[in-house]
């Protein structure tokens, strides 16, 4: 590349003109810039003068009053007047000669103002010199002349009119004026020298810049020319490059096409290979001869022929139903081109002669540029077998003799087998109809619960159990029915039988109660009058006869009581109480009763406590006493020699259900092992000889065993023939929390178990007015006799109504009865109603119930009606008198106490 030296230079005249122009532009720019500088400075000075005035002389004073100082007004008004006009010019006429001279004058005036505002301080005089230095920024000595002129005028004027204010002396000498002016001129001289030098430098810089600009322009022109040449050469290279790139792109495209074609060929080869190895049968058939040209491996495996054999065969050879004519007729639409393919189902025959169903898709195609048939054959043996199986399974619900139905979640009947016809007829629905509401509701419930729901329905005198099984995944419900007509009928019959049994049971209970009443009532008279006879008999033969009547009567009563108890236990009506009682007192009571009997036989009766016993247990003391008396009575009865012992102990104290055990041990005849099991059977004794020898009903132990079970325990027996027996009675004690355990409580006998203390006199009911309410004339006579014998004054009432009237009348007369004996079963008004009316009529005296009903619930029933006590028939003379005496004596005591009290108060 050739190098050209740039040697051409611009003419000097042009450079000089350019330098002058640049110098002028620079000066103008300098003037404008300095104008703006001073505009800002003057505004600042104005505000500074205001601040100075406010700070130094804010107010002027007249004694104790003050007002704004003139300096503050001067700073605002005069300072503003000095500042505004030059600022205006600097903004609108920057760079003009007038502007900078006005600025110079106003700057000097501002100096004068500041000097006055500061009280002529010498420091503020430096503002003048500073302002001159700032004005030198214009680099125009004429500006300094304007400013200096203002200073001179100011000094001359003040020197003439007020020399003391400027020079501090009364008369000013010319030398003083010269001194002040000389300082200003001194500074002006140095500033003018500096301005001159600065202007010279500016001119020099303008000349250099003009020369540099000229050189730059020349160089740029040369570079532009060279760059144009390079650009042309570069464009030519780019064009050639573009052609080469196009050729390269075409070659690449050809390579890509080849690559794609190669891949397609490979894919087709692989596809053919896959088809060839497929288990589905593919046949390629010559369109002219119908011979097989090619078949795949699946066809060879299934049909059994080899490829070579197949090439000699036609489709007619493997289709038993086809003939060459029928086959040609079938293929005609394909050959004529009216159809491009068709599908059909037929039978293929293998080489071994077996046949199988196939589905064929046949179409025309091209192989090696020759038209061929392509048959894709699908073996449908498994498919047909599955279809048959499905069809068999679908018949399954219809073969069910029970109803099977299916309903959608919306309650639409989707399916019903033939056994459901009775139901559908009863409901009046067909498949596709909505189910009745009473069937649809449980279907919804089953879907909601996702579990089966069972209902029972009645349809055309038949009963069905319908089980709704939800199929939540499919959102429908299957209904499986079972005919339960026979079961329903059996249930109905059972219900009738149960009602009949309950009626019979009620009848039996009423019969027993009536029997009890009917037997006890005459027995009361028999035994009562027998006692009277016995009391009055003196002849030994009469006494024996009366005693026999008494023993047999008591036996009859005992038998009746046992039968009643057993009857109640077996009917489940016997209810035991749970009340607190002392086991020590109970044993003491039983011991006292049985001790008499044991002493009569000369047998020692011992009581022993094996360990501490609770002070209180919770049980039915009446029934427990009944058990102990019965068992202890048997022990005494069957023991001739030796002794009878009661051992009591506490069991299972740490458990939730502690128990107390009473062992009744005797040294009697003993019981054979095989007879022990029969002991607790009703009406059974060890053997008939025992019954004959010892008597008894055979119900005692049966009742005791049942009672022990009702009390939460049992009776266990261990015995040996000739050695004696041990009966272990166990009952629950109830909770023992907080109950004391006593080591030996035989001395503790509660007062509640003590018999009432009755005055032991010949006439315990002396002058007591007693109203006997009894409908039976025999019992009226008997009880009246007993009461009168005890000293009472007896009034008779045949029924409750008469009793009520007599009692209220006596109350109105002020002589109420001391006690009322009230039979509870009476005509007109029974004892219960009469007692309630008496209590409502404010009768507060004792009313003692008298009833032949011996049921346990009767006592409570009497007490609830308002009775104070309860006596059963037949009447025990002694007990009758004792009970009445206990009430009337208590009443007498109260009356006596009241009388004593009244006397004392008087």
């Amino acid at each position: 590349m050739s190098t050209t030296i740039i040697s051409a230079t611009p003419p000097k005249r042009d450079i000089s003109q350019r330098a002058d122009k640049l110098f002028g532009e620079n000066r103008k720019e300098l003037f404008q810039r300095t104008d703006r500088l001073f505009a800002a400075l003057m505004v600042i000075q104005w505000f500074a003068s205001i601040c100075t005035a406010i700070w130094l002389s804010p107010r002027t004073w007249i004694g104790s009053y003050s007002e704004t100082h003139v300096h503050v007004c001067a700073a605002i008004v005069l300072g503003g007047l000095i500042t505004v006009f030059p600022v205006f010019l600097a903004y609108f006429r920057p760079g003009s000669t007038l502007t900078r001279h006005v600025i110079a004058i106003s700057q000097m005036l501002m100096s004068s103002l500041l000097i006055h505002l500061s009280g002529g301080r010498i420091e503020t005089h430096f503002h003048i010199f500073g302002s001159l230095a700032f004005l030198a920024f214009y680099r125009d000595w004429r500006v300094l002349a304007s400013a200096t002129t203002v200073v001179v005028i100011d000094h001359v004027a003040f020197g003439i009119f007020d020399p003391q204010a400027v020079y501090g002396v009364l008369t000013v000498s010319p030398w003083r004026v010269f001194e002040h002016g000389a300082w200003v001129v001194f500074e002006d001289i140095f500033l003018i020298i500096a301005i001159t030098q600065s202007l010279r430098e500016m001119k020099s810089m303008a000349s250099q810049r003009a020369e540099l600009e000229a050189t730059n322009e020349h160089v740029e022109a040369e570079v532009k020319s060279r760059t144009q040449d390079l650009h042309s050469a570069n464009q030519m290279i780019l064009d050639k490059n573009h052609i080469l790139e196009q050729q390269t792109e075409e070659l690449k495209q050809q390579a890509r096409d080849l690559l794609i074609a190669n891949r397609k060929a490979e894919q087709l080869s692989a596809f053919g290979h896959i088809l060839d190895r497929s288990q589905n049968e593919i046949y390629i058939i010559d369109i002219g001869t119908y011979n097989f040209i090619h078949v795949n491996q699946g066809a060879i495996n299934n049909i059994g022929y080899s490829m070579e054999e197949l090439r000699t065969l036609t489709p007619v050879d493997i289709k038993p139903q086809e003939t060459p004519e029928s086959f040609a007729k079938m293929l005609a639409p394909l050959i004529e081109g009216t159809q491009d393919h068709f599908e059909f189902t037929t039978i293929h025959r293998r080489k071994d002669g077996s046949e199988y169903p196939v589905q064929i898709h046949l179409e025309t195609s091209v192989l090696d540029e020759k038209p061929v048939f392509v048959a894709i054959v699908l073996d449908i043996s498994e498919q047909q077998r599955a279809s048959r199986e499905i069809e068999r399974l679908s018949r399954f619900p219809d073969e069910n003799i029970n109803p099977v139905l299916r309903a959608s979640a919306q309650g639409i009947l989707l399916y019903a087998n033939s056994a459901s016809n009775i139901l559908l007829k009863d409901w009046g629905v067909q498949i596709g109809d909505p189910l009745p509401g009473e069937i649809y509701a449980p279907c919804q419930e089953a879907l909601a619960l996702t579990s089966s729901v069972r209902i029972e329905i009645n349809a055309d005198e038949n009963f069905y159990a319908l089980t709704m099984t939800p199929i939540n995944k499919e959102n429908y419900v299957n209904l499986y029915g079972t005919e339960i007509t026979s079961r329903k009928r059996a249930e109905k019959e059972l219900l009738h039988a149960k009602e009949a049994a309950e009626t019979a049971n009620r009848t039996k209970s009423e019969f027993l109660a009536n029997m009890s009443h009917e037997i006890r009532t005459p027995m009361t008279a028999i035994l009562g009058f027998n006692d009277i006879i016995l009391d009055n008999a003196t002849h030994p033969g009469d006494i024996d006869a009366a005693l026999t009547v008494k023993e047999n009567g008591e036996y009859l009563l005992k038998l009746i009581n046992n039968i009643l108890d057993l009857s109640k236990i077996e009917s489940g009506k016997l209810q035991v109480e749970q009340i607190s009682c002392s086991p020590h007192a109970l044993i003491d009571n039983v011991f006292s009763l049985m001790k008499v009997r044991a002493d009569a036989k000369g047998l020692p009766l011992d009581v022993r406590f094996d360990g501490p016993l609770p002070e209180i247990i919770c049980t039915d003391p009446t029934r427990l006493r009944q058990i102990l008396i019965n068992v202890l009575g048997n022990a005494i009865k069957f023991t001739e020699t030796g002794s009878v012992q009661i051992v009591t102990r506490l069991l299972d104290t740490q458990s939730q259900k502690p128990k107390i055990q009473f062992d009744v041990i005797d040294s009697g005849i003993g019981i054979a092992e095989e007879s022990i099991e029969k002991l607790f059977l009703p009406f059974v004794q060890e053997d008939n000889s025992v019954t004959r020898k010892f008597g008894g009903t055979g119900l005692g132990l049966t009742i005791c065993n049942r009672l022990a079970k009702l009390l939460g325990g049992k009776i266990a027996v261990s015995s040996a023939i000739g050695e004696g027996s041990t009966f272990s009675i166990t009952i629950q004690t109830g909770a023992l929390d907080g109950i004391r355990l006593l080591e030996n409580g035989t001395t503790i006998v509660t007062e509640t178990l003590n018999p009432p203390k009755i005055p032991e006199t010949e006439f315990p009911l002396q002058n007591q007015r007693i109203l006997l309410t009894e409908d039976g004339p025999d019992n009226q006579r008997l009880i009246s006799f007993i009461l009168k014998k005890a000293g009472a004054i007896v009034t008779l009432a045949d029924n409750g109504q008469i009793s009520f009237e007599l009692a209220t009348k006596a109350m109105q007369e002020g002589v109420p009865f001391d006690a009322i004996l009230m039979d509870m079963q009476m005509p007109v008004l029974d004892g219960y109603g009469a007692t309630r009316q008496l209590r409502d009529a404010d009768f507060h005296g004792p009313i003692i119930a008298l009833t032949a009903h011996a049921m346990s619930g009767d006592r409570q029933k009497c007490l609830d009606a308002g009775c104070d006590d309860y006596l059963t028939k037949p009447v025990d003379r002694k007990k009758l008198v004792e009970v009445i005496a206990s009430y009337v004596s208590h009443s007498s005591c109260v009356k006596a106490a009241d009388l004593d009290k009244e006397v004392h108060e008087v």
Binding site: H116, G119, G120, Q164, A165, L170
Partner: protein, 231 residues
């Protein structure tokens, strides 16, 4: 709302300034404006100068130390009394001149500055920078003049008013010790006092006083701007 298309004041002024045509040539306009501005500034500056040179009321103080005064003059030397208003800005220059005076001949005089005080104001009202500046001058005693009692006794009405009595209680000088209002620097009053103390001939015995009034306007009404006596 101003229409954005309408030119604002600045634009209008700029248009007038830049216009080549008009009722007057724009250069003449600016020259006229400059002349008007010059006149206004000259008037303002003249008014300020006049204020600066206007003295307070000229009074005649007792020729001998008044007996009703609560103060006693120094019988062994001269006694100088300056009456000052604690908030008068012009008196700051008078205090400065007093400081120079005490520097030159402090050993020959008993100098006292009485600051006006009024019961209308709080106790700290009188304790201004002037009070402290005066108190800091060696040989100067500062005290307050309650309700201007002493000022009235000595016929003083303007802050910065100075009296000089000799040892016999005879008045030697009365007037101010600044050349103009609040203006420091050499002045006739200070020069006269210094001459008297140096036993030289003083050019004057009475000067103008520049400062705030010590008494309310009703008491001084019509007495200001009197003709200055011969100095």
């Amino acid at each position: 709302m101003m229409n954005p298309k309408e030119p604002n004041t600045v634009d209008r002024v700029q248009r007038i300034v830049d216009s080549d045509r008009g009722f007057f040539d724009r250069r003449i306009v600016f020259i006229v404006l400059t002349l008007i501005w010059t006149c206004l500034v000259g008037i303002g500056m003249s008014a300020l100068w006049k204020y600066q040179g206007t003295p307070g009321e000229q009074t005649t103080s007792p020729r001998y130390w008044p007996v009703q005064s609560l103060l006693k003059h120094n019988q062994n030397g001269s006694t100088l009394i300056m009456f000052a208003h604690p908030h008068c800005p012009c008196t700051r220059a008078s205090i400065g001149e007093l400081s120079l005076l005490m520097t030159h001949c402090g050993e020959k005089i008993d100098a006292r500055v009485l600051f006006f005080n009024s019961s209308k104001f709080s106790a700290g009202w009188k304790k201004t920078d002037l009070w402290y500046s005066a108190a800091e001058i060696p040989g100067v005693a500062v005290s307050s003049d309650q309700e201007g009692f002493e000022a009235k006794t000595f016929q003083s009405t303007t802050s910065g008013y100075v009296l000089l009595y000799d040892a016999n209680g005879r008045l030697l000088f009365q007037g101010g010790i600044t050349g103009s209002r609040g203006h420091s620097g050499e002045n006739a009053g200070r020069s006269a006092i210094e001459a008297m103390l140096m036993n030289k001939t003083a050019e004057t015995k009475q000067t103008f006083v520049y400062g705030c009034l010590l008494q309310d306007r009703t008491e001084t009404s019509g007495k200001e701007n009197q003709v200055c006596p011969q100095q």
